[in-house]
Subunit: 81 residues, 7 copies
Amino acid sequence: MVNGIERPLDLLNSAKGKEILVQLKTGKQFVGTLLAFDIHINVVLDNAKEVENGEQTRSYGLTFLRGDTIIFISPSAAAKA
Amino acid sequence: MVNGIERPLDLLNSAKGKEILVQLKTGKQFVGTLLAFDIHINVVLDNAKEVENGEQTRSYGLTFLRGDTIIFISPSAAAKA
Amino acid sequence: MVNGIERPLDLLNSAKGKEILVQLKTGKQFVGTLLAFDIHINVVLDNAKEVENGEQTRSYGLTFLRGDTIIFISPSAAAKA
Amino acid sequence: MVNGIERPLDLLNSAKGKEILVQLKTGKQFVGTLLAFDIHINVVLDNAKEVENGEQTRSYGLTFLRGDTIIFISPSAAAKA
Amino acid sequence: MVNGIERPLDLLNSAKGKEILVQLKTGKQFVGTLLAFDIHINVVLDNAKEVENGEQTRSYGLTFLRGDTIIFISPSAAAKA
Amino acid sequence: MVNGIERPLDLLNSAKGKEILVQLKTGKQFVGTLLAFDIHINVVLDNAKEVENGEQTRSYGLTFLRGDTIIFISPSAAAKA
Amino acid sequence: MVNGIERPLDLLNSAKGKEILVQLKTGKQFVGTLLAFDIHINVVLDNAKEVENGEQTRSYGLTFLRGDTIIFISPSAAAKA
């Protein structure tokens, strides 16, 4: 068992308060601090920044991301974005 | 804890009566004052304005936005739009 | 509080009998008098007219619009369409 | 109140046995006599004809149309198709 | 017969054991004998044949078609396909 | 009645342990031995092979296919793929 | 082992702790160690790597993949990716 992850949402729960990377279906990525999520994978990021081709292109501050536009979420990749 | 946000909808609740920026799947953005939302992320904006490439292109006044067309919502980014 | 709108559907309820503008995912818009709606945002317009690039291109009379094709609905913008 | 339409499906109910025009997401239209519908907006047309650019291009007779492919339905526009 | 159809699925029920034409969202059509269907409009055809531009391009025998890929189903049009 | 198929899933049930052909929305096809399926039409194939233009292009072994990406499933066509 | 698979999710259950290959609708693939999944086919991979054209292009570490973006999952193909 890695990090006590038994269900997919356990990963998101353990990432609360930490930087995550969110890949959207539009092709863009967001990085920010995960504040909250729900079962639809709606998430709220603090200090959200849009990333394109590895460069941060715009800051959005507190941002609500609708779950159905998300492809994947990676906590550990945020540091490299 | 930032601003008491424990669930994603808490951010929308705290943004009621304030300017928000809404990114649609069509590529367009709206800014306006958030009056109401529901669990489908349907929202009603007052004084809604369509934004393209950072310029306000059209005013719609009171507007109902259907939740399934929304990618993200940012209260703090509205001031910059 | 603007116009007593606490939930998104309150805006549609207050617009019954009035002209509204409906933006479809196809890119087209409809204007017409809102007669009825439901929780799926299916709407019925009377005297419905299709609008493209600001010009009314075709009249459909009484028309049922399926909710999942709708991006936004603006009562106040109908007068300008 | 127009024609006693309080809910969107009331329009479809009042159109039973009459000619309707159905706009599909594919861009094509059907005209035919509405025989039946359900809450998914699945409809059955009798004497269904496909219409492209205002011309009837093919006859399908009795036809079941799946609701999730429908954009709008207009009873009054069928006569002009 | 037309008068026996009160709900959309009645048409499919009356077509069991008969040839039907199925239009898919991909643009292709299937013809075959309708053996079974369910409320999702999943259907099973016997002696299924793919049709493109009015020509039968491939035989699939017994085939399960997933309902969410179907645009329309016409029993009477199958003979002409 | 052909093969005792009264409901669409009866065909899949009768195909367990046999070769089937699965057409995906992406345009690709899979052939393999059907081991399991559920009401979402999620399927598990053993000895799964991807097929493009009638040629087997890659082997995947045991494979889980998500139901919402499937257009049709044909047991009898697998032999010809 | 093949014989233990009666339902589609049994394959995912048997693959826990093993390398799997995940094909996304975007065309990209991920390989990684399956830590968790749920009925929506949301999955968590450890040591996730993005694969394009057979080459590993980026490492994401612990990653949550949203189920509705997944086409297929193959445990045995991961070794070859």
